[in-house]
């Protein structure tokens, strides 16, 4: 997610105003200078000193919190914001920031509660609504997530990130036509967006539009090749779909590339192992399947594939053991159904 970068811009712009308002403490001014220079760690220390020098007199705890957010230190940031709220209970800035921090801490229910409280102080921005939506994503409530993303986009139609997330949410809802439309909108605004292109492929694949999906994945691969840091997903998705469509030979280089980019991803090794298995390259398949099993030991499909590979290689006892683990894992998964509201 690229939320940190966006939040940072918001915080920096707001800082100029606050600097003018709270110019009474020299150490606070110095801290603000560091903040504006994006020297987050030094700024955080300076704000702490500023607060020590003049407790409750400046917005130092608020800005210390912002600096810590930019450092990814969410626990400390939350503590700083809560300190600030002790003396500034009506600060909408602090309220929204704390709600955002709870989101980043993967505490969506608390985050949503705080957003609700913050909204009483000030109307949420498009970015706030986007984060609310992502809270709902974390809760698996895609209907509400979609609603808030639509509201966010109504305020800021050019927000590519919100539109991308809307596409993802529509995909999760199995609303593939809407997902495709959202990803097309992202690509219209940002033609080089790898994730949008890749997810366009996923949505097309879900609609059984195989050729179009392959084209999208190929485009995503082309786009990611030009980036300094590559993403394995387009290679993985392209390779997997090629293999499923009977083009296993063509799939292999894609899957090799995916597992080179993400060597610690069990999924990439699994797909590569499966492609090798389909081509009867049993030694290669075994090597990759064992890697997948080592990385994802609770993944029944990995054990099943390894079992099939052993079986075809004439290693009956090893195969049996893998099949035993497969059934055990499947059983434990299906018996965890409980009485939750599970539809078909």
């Amino acid at each position: 997610m690229r939320i940190t970068a966006n939040i940072f811009l918001i915080f920096s712009a707001a800082a100029v105003l606050v600097l003018q308002m709270f110019a009474q403490s020299p150490s606070f001014e110095q801290a603000m200078q560091l903040f504006q220079q994006h020297r987050w760690a030094e700024a955080a220390v300076a704000f702490a000193q500023s607060e020590q020098n003049a407790p409750g007199k400046t917005a130092a705890p608020l800005y210390r919190g912002k600096a810590l957010v930019n450092l990814g230190k969410f626990d400390e940031a939350a503590a700083a914001i809560e300190t600030y709220q002790g003396t500034h209970p009506q600060s909408d800035d602090a309220a929204y920031l704390l709600a955002y921090i709870r989101f980043r801490q993967n505490r969506p229910k608390e985050s949503l509660k705080l957003f609700t409280e913050a909204a009483r102080l000030h109307n949420p921005t498009a970015d706030d609504l986007k984060v609310v939506a992502l809270d709902y994503v974390l809760l698996g409530d895609y209907d509400d997530a979609a609603r808030y993303l639509e509201e966010s986009l109504a305020l800021d139609p050019e927000n590519v990130e919100a539109r991308y997330h809307l596409g993802r949410v529509r995909y999760q809802q199995n609303r593939f036509d809407l997902a495709i439309a959202a990803f097309h909108e992202v690509l219209r605004r940002e033609p080089g967006n790898v994730k949008a292109e890749d997810n366009l492929g996923l949505s097309l694949e879900a609609k059984n539009e195989v050729e179009a999906a392959l084209a999208a994945y190929r485009e995503a691969v082309k786009l990611t090749e030009n980036l300094p840091v590559q993403n394995e997903q387009p290679y993985l998705n392209l390779g997997a779909l090629l293999a499923k469509s009977g083009h296993t030979e063509e799939a292999i280089p894609m899957l090799v590339r995916a597992s080179a980019i993400a060597p610690s991803s069990g999924k990439t090794h699994y797909q590569l192992a499966k492609a090798y298995f389909d081509l009867n390259r049993l030694e290669d398949a075994s090597k990759e399947a064992r890697k997948a099993v080592a990385l994802d030991p609770r993944e029944s499909a990995d054990h099943y594939l390894l079992g099939r590979i052993y079986q075809r290689s004439g290693m009956g006892e090893l195969a049996k053991e893998q099949f035993r683990i497969t059934e055990q894992l499947i059983h434990s998964k299906s018996s965890k159904g409980g009485m939750a509201s599970e539809e078909r």
Binding site: D143, N174, R175, F176, D177, A206, K207, N208, V210, K244, S245, G246, K274, S300, A301, D302, H303, Y304, L305, G307, R308, Q311, A319, K320, F323, T326, E327, I330, H331, S334, S335, K336, G337, G338, M339, A340, S341, E342, E343, R344
Partner: protein, 548 residues
């Protein structure tokens, strides 16, 4: 459609034949699972007049709400199971009352087999809470012998299959059970008007099959646990075949959302469940799926029975090619079935050679299980058209539905399906049941000059129906194989006669029958385009055809 593919032509003749059956599912606002699972159909000749008759299983009244522990009852004629007798002119008459087969509870599956070897096919009707065995009296009436036979069972029975698993000459009975389920008010799906849905099987505990050994005196003994079939499943479909050619019939159970079971018959009265080990337990990605209908026949003419299992959208119908070494290869993707079935859901399924070209095609009847599916997944549909797939020499399946008649444009909530040659014209016809809807009789009017042969076996040492016999026919084009069975599909029972398309071959060079008794009977130079009755020989020998 490739040039080589032959389009079928199936015509709806239901009304013309005088069949007016309507299934009563009793849908409620509570979305009780029972009301969406449908009931099956049987095609069998109960009066031995040479013409297939039709039996439809039906639901029962379900109140909204229904108290836990209730066993629904048929409290009016609209819930009756129906037996339609085929008259000499090919039309049907409802003989339910006269035959005494209206039934009592919520009926689900049907299985036909002559369990007492008296020459008249008997009827087992599976149901929720209890099942019923009707003995065919041979005079157009049946007697409910459930209690004396000891096969009422318990729980939610779905499909059933007659099979002589110990080769003692008497048909035994396997009954699939879905799961431990009751009329609990469990809310599943979005809490919004119109979004309540049927609950996932994961919410319920599994149940074992029931295996009734035929003791030979009109009584059966339930031996599932003793026979190694006590493993708990969520069974919906049953099929039989000797997949490893060891002379003993094996049993495939299609399970919903857990691994599929293949019970390998060890030949000593016991079975070993080898679904996952053999390769039919999971799909090609090692995932479970919602197994519903099943068939167990050799689609690529290599002599080894293959497997197809239908399931729900996004899962792809699972096709397994028998590798001949006790394992199966997932062939859904390589045969084209994956792309064809990805967005579809199906129940009844049979391999059948609709154009008599010598390759078994696929007839599949479709519908999602959730009547609300389109609200949750707009690209899917509850009601679907049936699917006809032409077999391209065992390598690929080609979707010829669009070119094969108006019935393939109709949208049905299909569930059960039975196949058989209703008018004995050498082309296999189809009967389909809908959930809470009418039944459909589809007459096969495919334009072809291909030859055919249908074999009706009469067991002597083996069970009278010849169920479990393995037939190999040889023509100039090669070999074909079939297992005699009435089981397969979903909760349904098909014509026991084995049908083969012969293509242009004007003679069957050889028919080889491996009877369950072990007798191997060979017929030479058999004429095509006939229904040939073959009575089991007393010992293995080559014979000229005995035409009855």
């Amino acid at each position: 459609m490739p040039v080589a593919a032959t389009a079928g032509n199936f015509v709806d003749i239901t009304q013309k034949l005088g069949v007016h059956f309507k299934h009563e599912a009793s849908p409620t606002s509570k979305k009780y699972l029972l009301e969406t699972m449908g009931s099956g159909v049987a095609l069998f000749d109960y009066d031995n007049d040479g013409r297939l008759d039709i039996f439809f299983a039906n639901g029962a009244r379900i109140d909204d709400p229904t108290p836990k522990g209730t066993i629904p009852q048929k409290d009016g004629p609209k819930y009756w199971n129906r037996l339609y007798h085929q008259k000499p002119d090919g039309s049907f008459e409802d003989v339910t009352e006269k035959a005494g087969v209206a039934g009592t509870g919520y009926s689900t599956g049907v299985a036909v087999g002559d369990y007492d070897n008296d020459g008249y096919d008997d009827l087992f009707v599976a149901g929720y809470g209890h099942s019923t065995l009707y003995h065919n009296n041979g005079d157009g009436t049946f007697t409910d012998v459930t209690a004396s036979a000891g096969v009422a069972g318990s729980g939610w029975a779905t499909s059933a299959a007659w099979v002589d698993y110990d080769n003692d000459g008497r048909l035994d009975l396997v009954v699939a059970r879905y799961m431990e389920w009751d009329f609990d008010d469990i809310y599943c799906g979005h809490r919004e008007e119109g979004f309540r849905s049927y609950c996932h099987p994961d919410l319920f505990k599994p149940a074992s099959v029931l295996l009734y050994h035929n003791d030979g005196n009109g009584k059966f003994t339930e031996v599932a646990l003793k026979a190694g079939m006590g493993k708990l499943g969520k069974g919906l479909g049953l099929a039989i075949a000797d997949y490893d050619h060891d002379g003993w019939m094996d049993i495939l159970l299609a399970n919903d959302s857990i691994p599929e079971f293949l019970f390998h018959n060890k030949g000593d009265g016991t079975f070993e469940e080898v679904g996952v080990v053999s390769g039919v337990g999971l799909d090609g990605s090692g995932a479970t799926f919602a197994g519903m209908g099943v068939d167990f026949e050799d689609y690529n003419n290599d002599g080894w029975p293959d497997v197809i299992i239908t399931d729900l959208a996004n899962q792809k119908y699972a096709l397994y090619k028998n590798a001949g070494d006790g394992t199966f290869d997932y062939s859904t993707l390589t045969t084209g079935l994956g792309a064809i079935s990805l967005l579809h859901s199906a129940w009844g399924v049979r391999f059948m050679d609709y154009d008599n070209d010598g390759w078994k095609d696929l007839f599949i009847v479709q519908s999602h299980v959730m009547d609300t599916i389109q609200t949750n997944e707009p690209h899917l549909r509850y009601r679907e058209s049936p699917l006809l797939l032409w077999n391209d020499k065992g390598n690929k399946f080609v979707d010829v539905s669009e070119q094969s008649g108006k019935v393939f444009q109709q949208k049905w909530a299909a569930r059960g399906m039975a196949i058989g040659d209703i008018d004995n014209d050498g082309k296999t016809d189809v009967v389909v049941t809908e959930n809470n809807g009418p039944a459909w009789i589809l007459h096969n009017e495919t334009a072809t000059h291909n030859h055919w042969i249908t074999l009706q076996l009469v067991g002597v040492k083996s069970n009278r129906d010849g169920i479990g016999a393995q037939i190999k026919i040889t023509t100039a084009a090669g070999d074909q194989y079939a297992t005699v069975t009435t089981a397969s599909s979903y909760q349904s029972s098909g014509d026991k006669r084995a049908h083969f398309g012969l293509g242009s071959a004007n003679v069957v060079k050889q028919v080889e029958i491996r009877w369950p008794s072990g007798v191997i009977q060979v017929l030479k130079d058999v004429s095509p385009d006939q229904i040939l009755t073959v009575t089991e020989a007393s010992s293995s020998a080559k014979q000229n055809p005995a035409i009855h």
